[in-house]
């Protein structure tokens, strides 16, 4: 039996006390254990940022890549070895600034990744510049006049890109966050989970106190139909005093990318023996150019 302790790394987190990343870290470990995945069956891929250090603090296969390139690297890992459950954990800057295109292409590709965004709505590691999800009007060192851009709406964008699993959770509810990740781990294609992650150092606005009274769970409404895309869009646009969390949308009717690739039908590439071409294969190649 896999337990949370199997994921214990000798490295201690360097996050600030109270940082929302602790909850995400714990939730990831719990969810993996609950899903019965052992550390060697998992690959955590991240980018660069405060949250992206998560794989360093977790005993599992991992790869801390480049700022913004989490998803394409993870895609390569997954296609090379789809027996690895590949989970991305990266920040909102990583995912929605440098990485926005990659995420949306991953969604339409429906590659089998669980993509967890540590959305603190700020740049943490570079010390507090506003981020793509910062509220319009956010004052920061790079926006002393208050930012002019509409924040990115990751839920709506993922839906528009054709994602088959779109969810939101938050660091203040470990239980629900864990459940959401478990559910995503059970999804066959690309699964986005945007996680509200309070940054206690640089984002005083979007604090635990900000979210707690506002969030409510979509799944508390038994009539909410997660396969209804228009309903999901409507919920995606909801913002203000009430902010929905939970699974906005999930359909299982589209196969994952890796399920469709002919050359992967025989199993993961990485696990097949690598051998020289057979003489008849060579012959066929030569005949093509004769």
């Amino acid at each position: 039996m896999v337990t949370v302790d199997d994921f214990a790394s000798p490295v201690r987190p360097t996050w600030c006390t109270g940082c929302g990343n602790f909850a995400i870290w714990n939730a990831v470990k719990r969810a993996l254990a609950q899903a019965g995945l052992a550390p060697h069956q998992v690959m955590l891929v991240s980018g660069i940022g405060c949250g992206s250090k998560l794989p360093d603090y977790t005993r599992a296969n991992g790869y801390m890549t480049l700022h913004g390139r989490t998803v394409p690297v993870a895609t390569g890992v997954r296609l090379a070895n789809h027996h690895l459950r590949v989970v991305c954990t990266h920040g909102d800057g990583d995912a929605y600034a440098e990485g926005l295109g990659h995420m949306l292409h991953a969604a339409r590709r429906n590659i089998g990744l669980v993509d967890i965004i540590q959305d603190n709505r700020i740049y943490g590691l570079t010390k507090g510049q506003y981020s793509p999800t910062s509220d319009r009007g956010r004052v920061s060192k790079t926006s002393p006049w208050g930012s002019f851009e509409l924040p990115v709406n990751p839920i709506a964008l993922a839906l528009a890109a054709g994602a088959t699993f779109v969810a939101r959770a938050w660091s203040g509810d470990l239980q629900h966050l864990t459940e959401t990740i478990v559910r995503a781990l059970g999804h066959r294609g690309y699964a986005l989970i945007d996680v509200f992650q309070p940054c206690v150092t640089f984002n005083r606005q979007n604090s635990y106190e900000f979210y707690r009274p506002r969030v409510y769970k979509l799944q508390d409404d038994p009539d909410y139909d997660v396969t209804d895309k228009m309903a999901a869009f409507a919920k995606a646009l909801e913002w203000g005093d009430r902010i929905p969390i939970g699974v906005f949308y999930q359909v299982e009717d589209r196969p994952a990318y890796e399920e469709q690739v002919p050359s992967l039908q025989a199993g993961p590439l990485a696990l097949r023996p690598l051998e020289k071409l057979r003489p008849e294969q060579v012959q066929r190649l030569l005949e093509e150019v004769m």
Binding site: T75, L84, G101, L264, L269
Partner: protein, 586 residues
């Protein structure tokens, strides 16, 4: 009186969309089946229709390595072709033009023949479609040079079989009509190149194809890419063979993703690459450093075209050498290979993956438009599949991992710099690496001493690898006075230039580098006497690199930066100018 020539070039010209290149390749195939040797060179614009395109096939009775400048027979599918290329014809040469097009309003040359043939009309009548006149005009050419048209027919049969017998038949009728149409002019055309029946079958392919085959043979099983001329045919070739050979190929959103995905696949244990050109490579620069830092084997195939920026998308240059050598922030080991021929492209194809895995670092293969797209015939054994070795370097087997004592150290300090590698998936080898500086386990570590040692460990791999880098291939006289230095695609033109210079008594040799970086041990000792670097760029980048790495200053540089390939004549003319100049000085 016709004379049997040993070397003859036929050029077809017209607009994009007329299918010049594909019919040129088909004709070349026929020539090769007829026992002749060919070198085929396309020249086309970065546009889908219109513009002036041409394709030149050089034919000989001995193996060819290069195109040359003189043309013996010009097949003009429009007036523009006559206008542009009439000057390239040798005395006695001929132009075949379509009666309906007529000739452009330029002075006639008295020393060449003008053969007017109703190409469109005949194609229409015999094949049912005027656009088949490119097939027809090559049949005319066969007739003129006395080449047995049955070889052309055999190629047409093979190439059109999947389109049905009707298509095959109409092609055969067109070919017959072409040969027939050539009869009245045969006596006037002085050059002959008859088939040499019974020769063993040979392959006909370009550098892109050869590299792709080599890569496949070398175990490449993952190719991610974004289309870019002239690199994309490698992605396309791999896609075409993916299902049969168990390769995953995918076209992705951009080149950043392309290399990142290949790195992800490489990390997970699959031989992976991405093909591109300079512009795409520019976008891969950050990820290249990621591979260097995290010691992930990956291959980038960079088929150069002229720069800077978009420039001339369908033309050639060797302008990216120093760029790929230094690309990405900071310092890390990388290996650069630049094949010069189809055979070398094949070999580099599999060697690149061995080197990438042996040194756990990125390998860049520098090709260019000239090598990538020009076709040459080689013997089947020249693509030496038997010689292929798959060497994964220091790779911990399942059994070794089962018996591993203690924790696995992905970035273990070793004397060679290479750390034994385990791919993610084994319970005893759970590990995470990081683009941040890290300790032996891969954990983020800022300590100065660790940094110093880890950086040295990585850089040490370059010295370890240097020992197996190959010295340049020498061609020509051993005790030459004149050493021409070549790298990559200019092998052919230089080789031929050396022959010609030696014929003129200049005592020349060529040193051709395929292994560019790390610069092989012993290079310095080879650079003696008068050295001339020949390069397809503005500044002489390889000469600069040699000076930087060895201290040797080349005597002269022969350069070209107009986007067109370097010909043997270009080289010999420049060399002779230097040497005459020197003579007149003394």
């Amino acid at each position: 009186m016709q004379s049997q020539l040993n070397d003859l070039s036929i050029r077809i010209g017209g607009e994009a969309g007329m299918g010049l290149e594909s019919s040129g390749v088909g004709f070349s195939q026929a020539l090769v089946r007829g026992g002749l040797h060919v070198f085929g060179l396309p020249d086309y614009h970065s546009r889908i229709r219109g513009g002036h395109n041409f394709f030149t096939v050089r034919i000989a009775r001995r193996p060819l390595y290069s195109h040359t400048e003189p043309v013996h027979l010009l097949l003009a599918l429009d007036q523009e072709t006559v206008r542009r290329h009439i000057g390239a014809l040798v005395p006695g040469g001929a132009v075949v033009y379509d009666e309906k097009d007529g000739l452009p309003d330029i002075p006639r040359r008295s020393d060449v023949h003008y053969f007017s043939i109703p190409l469109s009309k005949l194609a229409e009548e015999s094949g049912g479609n005027a656009i088949m006149r490119n097939t027809l005009v090559f049949a005319v050419a066969a007739g003129l040079i006395g080449f047995d048209p049955t070889y052309i027919e055999s190629v047409a049969r093979d190439n059109f079989a999947r389109k049905g017998q009707a298509v095959v038949d109409s092609n055969l009728r067109v070919i017959a009509a072409g040969v027939e149409a050539s009869r009245p002019f045969q006596a006037d055309f002085p050059f002959r190149m008859e088939a040499a029946p019974g020769a063993p079958r040979r392959l006909l392919l370009n550098g892109n194809q050869a590299f792709a085959m080599g890569a496949l043979a070398g175990g490449c099983r993952f190719v991610s890419g974004y289309p870019m001329t002239p690199g994309s045919p490698v992605l396309e070739w791999m896609a075409g063979h993916a299902e049969e050979y168990g390769v995953v190929t995918l076209q992705v959103e951009d080149e950043i993703a392309a290399l990142c995905m290949a790195i992800g696949a490489g990390y997970a244990g699959v031989r992976a690459m991405t093909p591109t050109s300079g512009g795409g490579f520019s976008l891969m620069v950050e990820a290249l450093g990621l591979a260097g830092m995290t010691e992930v084997p990956v291959v980038v195939y960079e088929a150069q075209r002229p720069g800077p920026s978009t420039s001339l998308a369908t033309r050639t240059e060797q302008g990216d050498l120093l760029f790929v050598l230094h690309a990405s922030q900071g310092e890390f080991p990388r290996i650069i290979l630049a094949p010069g021929t189809v055979e070398q492209a094949f070999e580099v194809g599999w060697r690149a993956f061995n080197l990438a895995e042996r040194y756990q670092t990125p390998v860049i293969v520098l090709s260019d438009h000239y090598l990538a797209t020009s076709i040459r015939d080689v013997a089947p054994e020249d693509l030496d599949f038997d010689a292929v070795v798959i060497d994964r370097g220091e790779w911990l087997t399942e059994a070794e991992l089962d018996n591993l004592e203690g924790d696995y150290k992905r970035h273990q300090f070793t004397e060679s710099g290479v750390s034994p590698r385990a791919i993610p998936g084994h319970p005893k080898a759970v590990h995470a690496s990081s683009s941040d500086e890290h300790d032996e386990y891969g954990h983020i570590e800022e300590n100065a001493e660790n940094r110093r040692r880890m950086h040295e460990k990585r850089m040490r791999k370059l010295e370890t690898a240097r020992a197996e880098m190959r010295l340049p291939a020498a061609y020509g006289l051993n005790d030459a006075d004149l050493t021409l230095i070549a790298w990559g695609s200019t092998y052919g033109p230089l080789r031929e230039a050396v022959d010609r210079l030696n014929e003129q008594g200049l005592r020349a040799q060529m040193l051709h580098f395929t292994d560019i970086w790390p610069v092989p041990h012993g290079t310095e000792a080879l650079l003696t006497g008068e050295t001339i670097a020949v390069e397809g760029n503005y500044s002489g980048q390889f000469a600069d690199l040699l000076r930087m790495a060895t201290g040797h200053t080349v005597s002269r540089r022969i350069l070209k930066w107009d986007g067109r390939p370097i010909s043997p004549e270009y080289i010999t003319n420049h060399v002779l100018r230097f040497t005459n100049h020197r003579k007149s000085e003394t």
